[in-house]
Symmetry: C2
Amino acid sequence: MELWYTEKQTENFGITAKITKSYVHEQTEFQQLDMIETEEFGTMLVLDGMVMTTVKDEFVYHEMVAHPVLFTHPNPENVLVVGGGDGGVIREVMKHPKVKKAVLVDIDGKVIEYSKKYLPTIAGELDNPRVEVLVNDGFMHIHDHKNTYDVIMVDSTEPVGPAANLFTRGFYQGIYEALKEDGIFVAQTDNPWFKADLIQSVNRDVKEVFPIVRVYGANIPTYPSGLWTFTMGSKKHDPLQVDESAIPELDTKYYSPRLHKAAFILPKFVEDLVK
Amino acid sequence: MELWYTEKQTENFGITAKITKSYVHEQTEFQQLDMIETEEFGTMLVLDGMVMTTVKDEFVYHEMVAHPVLFTHPNPENVLVVGGGDGGVIREVMKHPKVKKAVLVDIDGKVIEYSKKYLPTIAGELDNPRVEVLVNDGFMHIHDHKNTYDVIMVDSTEPVGPAANLFTRGFYQGIYEALKEDGIFVAQTDNPWFKADLIQSVNRDVKEVFPIVRVYGANIPTYPSGLWTFTMGSKKHDPLQVDESAIPELDTKYYSPRLHKAAFILPKFVEDLVK
């Protein structure tokens, strides 16, 4: 018997992956959590029926959340990751020696627990002494920490379920206030093929709060359409003004200093969405 | 009853699309040809069980085959398209007034016939008076036309079936000879996630024949991994030396003058494949 995991990424389109094992199939306090072993992409974390990360392609998402913003801020000492309980973004953040402390706030402790167990290559740095892991509501954490962070990264699920309030103008306003005077934030903002409306509304909302707003993209095979977008809101520093020749070559597989600005040059139809 | 088209893009991974109709299901002289109506991507042409083009996302592939090379050559008067019987590349080529004549050579007349019937928004320019359509073997056509073309575009299927000899060093040598002294060619060269070996071997072969070899990428949701590569071989003109500010803004949805050079800046793991 062959087992295949099929995810309907839209009502009418999806991906299907052959699996060899199901490690976890559990309704947590917040969402349905599945950890499965796929032939093509290795171990895969699925939340509410949507691929969150896989061992084979996780590097794209995690590198592209962390490095563009950390190489835009000149001195990112205090970093907050909202969501991201699998630890992948934290692992990339830890590659930056300038970061003195990174706080991870995920609402669902089960994501952290199972990622440590089944995704050790992703979650390994959650135990780094520079990291503080909190199981808490990111929205509330933001609200309670004014003028605290240099960089905030929103590594959330889709705007359904526990992450719904992470895609609101009120959340972006809270992020603005939680950032220091030259702070920057970045959020994953889905794909332009099936979720053009979301990208547009986030862009509109972030522009009402931040003076500098930039959108960039990256190719993630297991995410809908294969093209993922990220929206950056900044008080002062512009990612497009960074001197690429001054960016050090990190141990990465997707991000490079050469890609730093190129990632912001979007296909025309995406450019048009965020004009 | 719901009907879904499922394509195994690898042994262990695939895409699945809800369909409402099957227009054509035919074994031609060269390949299995299917024309189906999908809910998400509109009409879809499938050859030997692989998506070739869809009404919704075809613009990416067709624009990205045609415009980077045509805006690299200063005077692309004579153009050859090998394969591409759906007419999408020809439609983009016709947006360039400098092109006096474009020859399309597809081995399978059925692709042309059914594309004209079921994909009129893609195939419409096949009747342009500047276009000559030949049903013939592209490999032989290349062999018989020395020193003839300014630009050659290889819009082939995968290197199985009728297109197998379009991925050989001998074919690239033939293309070199069919090009004029400052000619350029471009070929689709699959995706870096599942076909890294192919990209590497093509790159090696093309480098043995052409002094300037460049690889670029584009996001195509219905193609494996969502990231497609294209390899350009050039005798004289370098796509990275083009003055982007001199490129006119065409009626496109993916390609833009801003993207011309950015498309060549690849993710690090792809860069490493073609070093």
